[in-house]
């Protein structure tokens, strides 16, 4: 699904430098990126999503060398292939829950918003328990409900790859479990590949694979298995 080779990335003239000699994520697997703040976990997600481009190296997702695509091609690839969930939910306060879920269809011409899409949005909302809140605005939702809206938005296009950045970082334990259940149930049902950045070691057991960013040199062979110390 994802294949990275000789990746080098740095932000402008700053000290930060991310270098990954090699990394592969298989299809229909669940992978967690862990590591201290500033170690490059979110940056790698952004690179995989094609939001930023590396200075060197190659990133292939589903056989497409995303790092060599043009801006427009990368956007099109992202909106049709990748679902994104953020720690801060990133919902638009002026849109209702339903409009927030439908947002990808309003922002890119590659997607056509029709009745079937609306039905799917409603179905998803029902599955995650927010069907009775479709007309509400995000500020009238709990944190857990907001993240469920964000998950619905991310999976509405039925993407083969789901990238989540600290999806439970702002949630209490009860909501954390609910959101994770929703994510993992969806991934199991749809065969979607899940890559998630997290600081929460309590949830690592749920992932099939954990990548530790503390030692970049260990990337090629240093992956820990769930439950390892």
């Amino acid at each position: 699904m994802i294949h990275i080779e000789g990746l080098v990335f740095r932000y402008g003239e700053g000290d930060f430098r991310l270098a990954i000699p090699g990394l592969t994520v298989e299809s229909a697997t669940t992978t967690a990126f862990i590591g201290p703040s500033g170690s490059g976990k979110t940056t790698l997600l952004n690179l995989i999503a094609g939001i930023v481009r590396p200075q060197a190296g190659r990133i292939e997702t589903r056989g497409v060398a995303i790092s060599s695509l043009s801006d427009d091609e990368r956007r099109r690839f992202r909106v049709t292939t990748i679902g994104l969930v953020f720690q801060e939910f990133e919902l638009l306060e002026y849109l209702t829950v339903l409009d927030n879920i439908l947002l990808p269809y309003r922002i890119h011409r590659a997607l056509t918003l029709d009745a079937a899409v609306r039905d799917r949005a409603t179905d998803l909302a029902e599955r995650v328990g927010i069907a009775d809140r479709l007309d509400r605005h995000p500020r009238r939702l709990s944190q857990g409900e907001r993240q469920r809206v964000a998950v619905c938005r991310a999976v509405l296009t039925d993407p083969p790859l789901l990238l989540t950045d600290e999806p439970t970082g702002n949630l209490d334990p009860v909501n954390r479990e609910k959101v994770l259940d929703i994510l993992f149930d969806y991934v199991a049902e749809s065969g979607t590949t899940l890559v998630s950045v997290t600081h929460d070691h309590e949830i690592l057991q749920r992932f099939g694979r954990v990548v530790d960013f503390r030692d970049f040199r260990a990337f090629s062979d240093g992956f820990r298995k769930p439950g390892d110390a």
Binding site: A49, I51, D71, D72, R75, R76, R78, V79, L84, F86, E90, L92, E93, Y94, L95, D99, L103, P104, Y105, R106, I107, H108, A110, L113, H137, R153
Partner: protein, 392 residues
């Protein structure tokens, strides 16, 4: 494109208070100078058009503006009185036709204009329904006045007392409406026209009462001195002129001394106009005015005021515009994260910019649209406002 505009629309609708304030600000920035311009243009056109059609006005010494406004627009302020003899004098000079005007009384809030049939011809006032006034006590009503008073031919209007506390004063006169004039979009639409003698009857200078020579009126006789019969206060006076009592109506005194508010003089040509103006130039008690001159002076004042108002509006407008721009810029900064989100989930820079600028465009379009609508309304109904302002 539809999606991004939808997002902009949702943003504007969600922040409706902020949007309403911005739209109001933009509307005012545009409408204040534009509406004022329209109003000034209309007032210039209206004031000069009617003034231009009224060559000369003769009246008692006093405010030329008051005299002109009373004669042209039948304003509530009554100018100093002149006499009916003035009209005769103009006629006798052979220099101009004279139209007497007595604009003092009202029926409800509509002016009663005492004049002659020549006035109707002079202003080209045609009867839409009924006929012109022919005898004492009849009136014809302007189109708007007829609507406001809800009268037509066969109905009656009653003159309003000048003071409700003057119980010994003149009784209101009930006048029969014999015609309604065609709509002219001028001050004549709001007036009730009667013969000048009828207006003197309203004032009490002429009256009708029961015949004191008859035996049954003996109770009303105070004393008899030869042919002269003096009535007492119990004599019944008529407050309506009918075919049965019209013969009893009479005027005490010399008509030439009866009051007028003005005489409209219509000279045969420019030479006659100049000669007539020369005659009154040094008159102590009489003034002759060219309404066009008076109105142009008035306009000059209005234009000066407009210049001040526009200067103020432009200054305030510039400050408001700067504040509005600041609000937009701050809004864009505050929405940086939203832009990043839209970009991350697949929106192009152009699409994201379209969402942001559409909001500005929607607000600007609403502001400009409202300002244009208000300006159009001012264009349409400005004359009503103007008439109210000048008391016509």
């Amino acid at each position: 494109m539809r999606g991004t505009i939808y997002l902009a629309w949702r943003y504007v609708a969600f922040h409706r208070v902020k949007t309403a304030i911005l739209v109001t600000a933009i509307t005012l920035i545009i409408y204040l100078p534009a509406g004022l311009r329209v109003l000034v243009n209309q007032s210039s056109r209206q004031l000069t058009a009617r003034a231009d059609a009224t060559p000369l006005v003769i009246g008692a010494r006093g405010s030329p503006t008051e005299l002109t406004l009373s004669t042209l627009y039948f304003g509530a302020d009554v100018p100093e009185r002149t006499h009916y003899a003035q009209a005769a004098e103009v006629e006798q000079s052979g220099l101009a036709a004279a139209i007497p005007m007595y604009v003092r009384f009202r029926t409800r809030d509509r002016p009663i204009v005492g004049t002659t049939l020549e006035y109707l011809d002079f202003r080209n006032l045609r009867v839409a329904n009924g006929r012109r006034f022919a005898v004492l006590g009849e009136c014809v009503v302007g189109a708007r006045a007829a609507e406001r008073l809800e009268v037509g031919p066969g109905d009656y209007v009653i003159s309003s007392p000048e003071s409700v506390f003057d119980i010994a004063g003149v009784y209101p006169l009930r006048m029969k409406v014999v015609g309604v004039l065609e709509y002219t979009d001028g001050a004549d639409d709001d007036a009730v026209f009667v013969d000048v003698k009828t207006s003197w009857v309203i004032e009490g200078l002429g009256h009708g009462h029961q015949d004191l020579s008859l035996p049954e009126a003996a109770a009303g006789v105070l004393r008899r001195e030869g042919n002269v019969v003096v009535g007492n206060a119990s004599v019944m006076q008529f407050n309506e002129i009918t075919p049965d009592n019209i013969d009893s109506f009479h005027f005490h005194g010399d008509l030439s001394g009866f009051p007028l508010t003005a005489v409209i003089a219509v000279p045969a040509d420019q030479r006659a106009s100049a000669l007539l103006q020369g005659r009154y130039q040094s008159a102590e008690l009489i003034q002759i005015v060219r309404p066009l001159d008076v109105m142009e002076q008035l306009l000059e004042t209005i234009l000066t005021v407009e210049r001040f108002v526009v200067a103020g509006a432009v200054t305030v407008g510039a400050a408001t515009l700067a504040t509005t721009c600041l609000v937009f810029l701050l809004s864009l900064r505050l929405r940086r994260r939203e832009r990043e989100t839209l970009f991350k989930i697949g929106g192009s820079r152009t699409a994201v910019a379209t969402v942001m600028t559409s909001e500005i465009v929607v607000v600007l379009a609403a502001g400009v649209g409202l300002a244009l609508a208000f300006t159009a309304l001012t264009q349409r109904y400005g004359d009503i406002v103007l008439r109210a302002l000048i008391g016509a």
